[in-house]
Subunit: 202 residues, 4 copies
């Protein structure tokens, strides 16, 4: 009995933690990490300030968890899309398409990852780097595969992977910050073609 109780309790706890994270995401999407106070997050989550500290040891733990979660979500999304295809070029496309789809669906996520969180502090930048690297690694793997197959003449697959990812990043960031380009999905096509040409396809 006690065991089941504990499970329920844990579940409830996790649910509340989720509530707080959701609230925090909303707030962080509009204001930078430093500008955002625990109080404002608590208000959005409809809890008392002190309650926050029952679920997170401090502000940094929260943002870390948020970003980690986003990272997992993003990665999961990308990987599941990649599994649907086999060709490396298609995998590249699937990765970025997954990214963009997710960011369109969860704009706050994109805002936090690409706009608000960079520059918080060194520890944080390291974490972001890690995330980006994961994506770049995937891309690089595709390129290396293509290379092996002789389909990518590519000089330096790491740099090419960075170029690939960076071009998407730039467009998405601009879309988030200024609404330019207006139609991100359409821009995706342009971007894809650009990069495929860059990779030597066509």
């Amino acid at each position: 009995m006690a065991y089941r109780q504990t499970n329920k309790v844990k579940e409830k706890l996790e649910r509340k933690k989720g509530d707080i994270i959701r609230a925090a995401r909303e707030v962080f999407a509009e204001n930078s990490y430093q500008e955002t106070s625990i109080k404002s997050i608590a208000q959005k989550a409809k809890i008392a300030t002190g309650t926050f500290y029952l679920y997170f040891s401090n502000k940094e733990a929260l943002i870390n968890m948020i970003v980690d979660e986003m990272f997992q979500e993003l990665l999961k999304c990308i990987k599941s899309e990649r599994e649907k295809v086999t060709d490396s070029f298609e995998k590249l496309q699937a990765s970025m398409e997954a990214c963009i789809r997710l960011f369109i669906k969860e704009k706050s996520m994109a805002k936090i990852l690409l706009i608000q969180v960079p520059g918080v502090n060194n520890a944080f930048n390291a974490k972001l780097t890690e995330i980006e690297n994961e994506l770049i690694k995937l891309t690089k793997e595709d390129l290396d595969e293509l290379k092996e197959e002789g389909r990518f003449p590519g000089e330096d697959s790491l740099v090419s992977a960075m170029a690939f990812v960076g071009s998407f990043r730039q467009v998405i960031t601009s879309w988030l910050r200024e609404g330019q380009p207006e139609d991100l999905e359409k821009a995706f096509d342009t971007l894809m073609k650009y990069n495929l040409r860059g990779l030597g396809k066509l």
Copy 2:
């Protein structure tokens, strides 16, 4: 009757202001804007805290001036390199080459512009956006010219310009944060080829 030679004095003041900016650059390069206290800047510049306020009205004025200065420096550098060539493809190359050269020479500048300053606050992001847009605008002009000449099949020149700039940005950022790629100059060649192919050349 001290300070009779007003010119020399003015010069000295400007030099001191420059010293402070230099010190601040160093500090900002290693720590985020928010983490950086006026005190730490003053210490690096070997002045008293109060002295800082003789040269800048506040912290924000300082970072604004720093970023503005960097922007001017960057733009001047890019434009002067572009003037040396006439072909649009060469201009594209010249722009990015200028960027990379400057960033290699002034690493703190790159760190501040690309890593530390983003995410400070909304007002600041707007300023950075402006800077990036200037660079993208230049790139887009080149592309539009190429388009007119029928040398760039390009779908959307704005998106393409973003892709172009973004690919460089990503590589430079990674180099700053992790030292990857080790040889930025060499990576530049790879990047350039990648993008020229992306633009349809070759």
Copy 3:
């Protein structure tokens, strides 16, 4: 589920605010506004510096509230005394008697209003002027009534009202600053006679 009895809690908060105001009154009575730091007020109130800001938005808000409160208290006191009599001469006497009684009872109040707060800044002087004017207005109304009844020959009722109030003010101030006259109640009689003669009675 703490703080369930909202009423009690609110009451407690109000009480605390009152405590702070009381402490501040004590401090302000002995030191000028400018000399008084938030820290010293907090110490007197036995709270942390930050706690002060839970109750007042800043130092100016505090002194404003203090003076406003005192003003209300003084006016209430005066008006209630005036209501007990009908004759205008008696009203004049009632006003000043109320003043003096209150000031004897709450010496810190008198010190703040008459000694410490003047000279803080222009905005503040305006507020004090307003308070004094209220008292002078009341006095003037009495005089105008007497004039109508032909009992006050009075040339200029405004100036006479000022003279009336000013004579009390001077004596009270001296009493506060130097303990001269020692017996303020007795001085009140002298003052009252002086002014009644001045107003033409007797």
Copy 4:
């Protein structure tokens, strides 16, 4: 020779000191002691900030000297007017007339003495008290003389003297702060009559 030199130098020094005091008077008339910075005084006096300290040991020394000077000026003025008459009632009138004349002529003086300086700090209030007491003492002496001559029935001559002075003070202050009464000279007549009646004359 050296002696004469020294004299000249001293004179020059005194002249400059006078310049600074004049400038300071102007500034203090418009802003409270605390609001007024040494820098602003120096600017008004067209000297450098550091120069100020060649003539005054610190800010407090300046305001002390200013107030002392004003005190001397006021007293001299009053005494010289009093000497022109012999009757005690006339002396009372002469005192106040001298005051008002001087204040009309040197409004900044009145503003400083009556509005800006009170409330600066305890040491300062003591000095102001001293000044006022001197005036009250003179008044009291007149009253005591009248008393001896049987012309003033007066109960307490000190309180009466305070009343006398306080009535003028109140009117002058209002005139300074709000321009009420508009015509101070005319108000003087009213005030004088009021007080003479108060003292039992007529």
